[in-house]
C-alpha cells in the first residue's frame, strides 16, 4: 500500500516537473524575455551609477515581464563592463547601464569595444557638472577665472576624481571653452571626497564635480559655484549661470542610460525600448529619482544612439587638446 502511494506521488511529481518544463520551453520559443535579464553596471557597487541603475529594478517585472539583475563589473573607467557586454551574445539578455565614459574610454587606451558596437535603449538621466571654488576666493564667475589664469599661468589647479573620468572631461571642457585649459593644472584625486577636502583646505583652487557632492557645503557658504555645464541651469541653484550663458559654451553633460549590443534582433530592441520607456515614466521611478537627486531626462532609442555618436566625435577634439588622446 505504502509503495503504491509513493509510486503515485512520484509519478505526479514527475508529471508536474515535465509539465513545468514544457511550459517553460514554449514561452522561451515565443516570447522575449523568458528569463531574468542581466544589466551590467561597469562601476563599483554603491556608487552613484549603481544606485541610479538600482531604481530601475522594481519596475522591471511589471513592464518587462522579467526581473532585471544588476551585476557590477568595475574597472578601467567603465571599459571592462562595457567590453563584457559588447562580447556577450546579442540576445537582449545582457544590457549595459553606463555613463558618458562609454564614449571617453576608447580614446584613452585599448578597450575591447567600439562605440559603434552599442545602441542606446533609453537615456535615464542627465547630470551637469559644475565648477566650484572656496566661498572666500576672489572669483565669482568664469570670466574672473579666465582673466586671473591668463595673468597667472600655471598657478590655478582644479580637482577631479581621476584621469579620464567624465568629471575630468567635463571640467576640461569648461576650461577649454574659456581658452585657458593649458594654463591650468588638473589634479586627479582618488574620488571626489579628497578633492572637496582639498578645495575647502585651500590646497587646490577649484573642483569639477556634480552638485549633490557639494550641495551642503554650498548651502553652508563654504563653497560657491562658478558655472554649470550643459544647456540649462540647475533647479537647486537658479541664480548660477551656465557656462554657455557666460559666453563659454561647455555643453558636455554626463548622461546615464541603458545600452544593448547593436546586433540584438530588432524586435527585441523594440520591446526593450518600450519597456524601459514605461519604467522611466512610471510614478514610483520618478519618485525614487527625485529622492536620489537624479535629474530625469529621457531620450528614446534613436535620439540616445545619435547622442552617443555625437558625443563620441566631440570627444576626439577635446581629448586631443587635453593631450589625452591615444588612438
Amino acid at each position: 500500500m505504502l509503495k503504491l502511494k509513493s509510486v503515485v506521488v512520484g509519478v505526479v511529481i514527475l508529471a508536474l516537473f515535465l509539465g513545468i518544463g514544457l511550459l517553460g520551453t514554449r514561452i522561451e520559443a515565443n516570447e522575449y524575455p523568458s528569463k531574468p535579464i542581466e544589466m551590467v553596471v561597469p562601476y563599483a557597487p554603491g556608487g552613484g551609477t549603481h544606485i541610479a541603475a538600482e531604481i530601475l529594478v522594481p519596475g522591471a517585472e511589471e513592464f518587462l515581464g522579467q526581473p532585471l539583475q544588476i551585476s557590477t563589473k568595475p574597472g578601467a573607467g567603465g571599459a571592462i563592463g562595457a567590453t563584457y557586454v559588447a562580447k556577450s551574445k546579442p540576445d537582449g539578455y545582457t544590457l549595459l547601464y553606463t555613463t558618458l565614459s562609454l564614449a571617453i574610454a576608447p580614446y584613452l587606451g585599448k578597450v575591447g569595444y567600439n562605440i559603434d558596437d552599442f545602441v542606446g535603449i533609453a537615456q535615464c538621466s542627465d547630470v551637469a557638472a559644475v565648477i566650484a571654488v572656496k566661498a572666500d576666493s576672489p572669483w565669482d564667475n568664469a570670466k574672473d577665472i579666465q582673466e586671473w589664469v591668463k595673468e597667472n599661468p600655471g598657478k590655478f589647479s582644479w580637482a577631479h576624481p581621476g584621469v579620464g573620468s567624465s568629471l575630468h572631461i567635463q571640467g576640461a571642457n569648461a576650461f577649454f571653452e574659456m581658452g585657458v585649459l593649458k594654463d591650468t593644472k588638473d589634479v586627479p584625486f582618488k574620488g571626489t571626497a579628497p578633492g572637496v577636502a582639498a578645495v575647502l583646505g585651500g590646497h587646490v583652487q577649484a573642483i569639477s564635480t556634480f552638485l549633490p557632492a557639494i550641495a551642503e557645503n554650498v548651502k553652508a557658504k563654504q563653497l560657491k559655484v562658478i558655472g554649470v555645464g550643459g544647456p540649462s541651469r540647475l533647479p537647486e541653484l537658479p541664480e548660477v549661470k551656465t557656462f554657455q550663458e557666460q559666453g563659454y559654451p561647455a555643453m558636455l553633460t554626463s548622461w546615464r542610460g541603458v545600452f544593448a549590443s547593436k546586433n540584438t534582433p530588432p524586435e527585441i530592441l523594440k520591446k526593450l525600448e518600450m519597456s524601459f520607456a514605461q519604467i522611466i515614466s512610471s510614478d514610483p521611478y520618478k519618485e525614487r529619482s527625485v529622492k536620489l537627486g537624479e535629474p530625469l531626462v529621457y531620450k528614446n532609442m534613436s535620439e540616445f544612439t545619435s547622442m552617443l555618436r555625437r558625443d563620441s566625435q566631440a570627444m576626439e577634439t577635446l581629448l586631443k587638446n587635453m593631450g589625452l588622446y591615444k588612438q
Binding site: P45, K73, G109, G201, E216
Partner: protein, 499 residues
Amino acid sequence: MELLDVFYSILTISNILFLCLGVIGGMIGGALPGISPSMTIALLLPMSLYLPTSNAIMLLIGAYQGAMYGGSISAILINTPGTASAAATAFDGYEMARQGKTGKAIGMSLAASCSGGFIASIMLIILAKHLALVSLKFGPAEYFGIMLFALTLIAGVCGDNLLKGLMAATLGLLLATVGMDPVVGTERLTFGLFNLYDGFSMLSVFIGVFALSEILVQLRTPGKDLDTTPEILDYRQDRLTFKEYWSQKWNILISGIIGCFIGILPGLGGSTASFIAYAEAKRRSKTPEKFGTGIIDGVAAAESANNGVCGGALIPMLALGIPGDVVTAILIGAFVAQGIKPGPLLFTQNLKDVYAIYFGLILSIIALFIIGMLALRFIAKIVSIKKSILFPCVFMLCVVGTYSARGNLFDCLMMILFGLFGYFLRRHKFQIAPFIIAYILGPEVELNYRLALRISDMNYLTFIQKPISLFFIVFTVLFVVFSVFKKKVFKQWVSKGTN
C-alpha cells in the same frame, strides 16, 4: 533633554532588530572573501531605501561595524582576509589558530574591534568638529609626509633579514605601479591588457598571497598530517581571559586612535590604518621578534585600528559632508535617500539625526559584542575540520571570492598566479608583511608626491615649506636614524656583507 528624547525614540524593538540584522549581515559579508565592507553596505542599500529612517540608519551602521570585524574571522580561521582591512590581522591571527588558539584569537579580535570602535565613537562625539577641521589641513604634500613615515615602518616588519624584507617591499612597490598612471593616464606595465588598466585587483593579490600560497605550502607537509583532525584546546582553555585583554589596553587605545585618525583623512581606509597600527605596535613592543608568529598584540592592534576607522570616517562625513572612506561614501548616498543631508549644516539644523547616528554607533558596538560572543564558539569549530576537507573548500572560496569582487574571471587567474608568487616568497623565506604593506602604501605615496609637485608647479621645496609635511619628514628621518643605531641591524648587516 533632547538627547534623552532621541535615545528613547531610538530604543525600539524594530530598531534593535535591524541593528542586529545589520551586524549579522555585516559579519557574514565581512567574513566572506570578495564581499568587502563597502559591498556589504551596497548590497543592503537597496533594502534600506524602503525602510523608515531610523531603521535604515541602524541597519547600515550595524553592518559597517559588523563587516569591519567580520573580515578578521576568515583571516584568522583560513588565512583569507575577508576584507583588505583584515590583512594585517592574518599575520598573527592565523598563526594563533594554527597553534590551537583560535578562540583566543577571535575573542581578542572581537574585543579589540569593539574597543577600537568605541574609542573612535567617543572621539567622534566629543571632537567631531575640531577633528574635521584638522582633516582639511592635509593636502597632497601632508599626505605624502604621513605616508612616507608609514612606509618606513616596513623596516620594522622585516624580521631578522632586513635585506630580504626590503626586497619583498620593493617587489610590492613594483607591482603597485602596474596599471594606469594616476596623474597623466599613460598605461604602465599593462602589456596592452585592458584588464590591467586599474592594476591588479587588490583582492586577487591578498587572497593569492595569503590564502592560496598557504594551501600550497601546507600541501607539502608530508604524511597523514592533512587527513587528521587537528587538536583544539578545550573551550575553557581557549577563551580570551580578561587579564589578556587588559594587558593590551594601551595597545588597543593607541591603535584605536590611529585608526580614527586615518579614518578622518578622506581617501585612506581600513587597510592603511591596520598596517600602521600593526607596525607601530611592533615598534613599541618589548618582544618585536614575536610579531608574525602568533602574538595576541598583533591581532589587537590591527582589529582595534580598523574598527576605529568607522568612527573616524564618519567625522568628515557628518561635519563636512565629505566621506572619510569608501564605505561612508556609500552611506552618504543612503542617508541622502533618507532625507538626511550630511554636511556642515547637519549639526546646526538636524541635531537629532546626528544624535541618532551617535547612538546607532554605540549600540552597534554593544550588539556586535553580544552577537560576536554568541557566535564565537561555533566559529572556532571550523578549525577542527580535517585539512583534506577544509582546503578544497577554502580554494573554492578563494576563486569565488576573487570573482565576486569585480565579476571578472581575469582576477581569478591573477589570484592563482599570486598564489604561486606567494608560495615562492614563503619557500625562500621572504616575509609577506613588507610585501603587502608596500603594495598597499606605494600607490598612496606616489600619487600624493606627484600631486603635491603638480599643485606647487614642480617646486620640490613644497614638502618642507608646509609645516605638517615637514614635521612628518623630519620625524621619518629621525625614526630611521634612531632605529638603525638602536637595533644595530645596520652593523650586523655590514659585518655580514664584509665576511
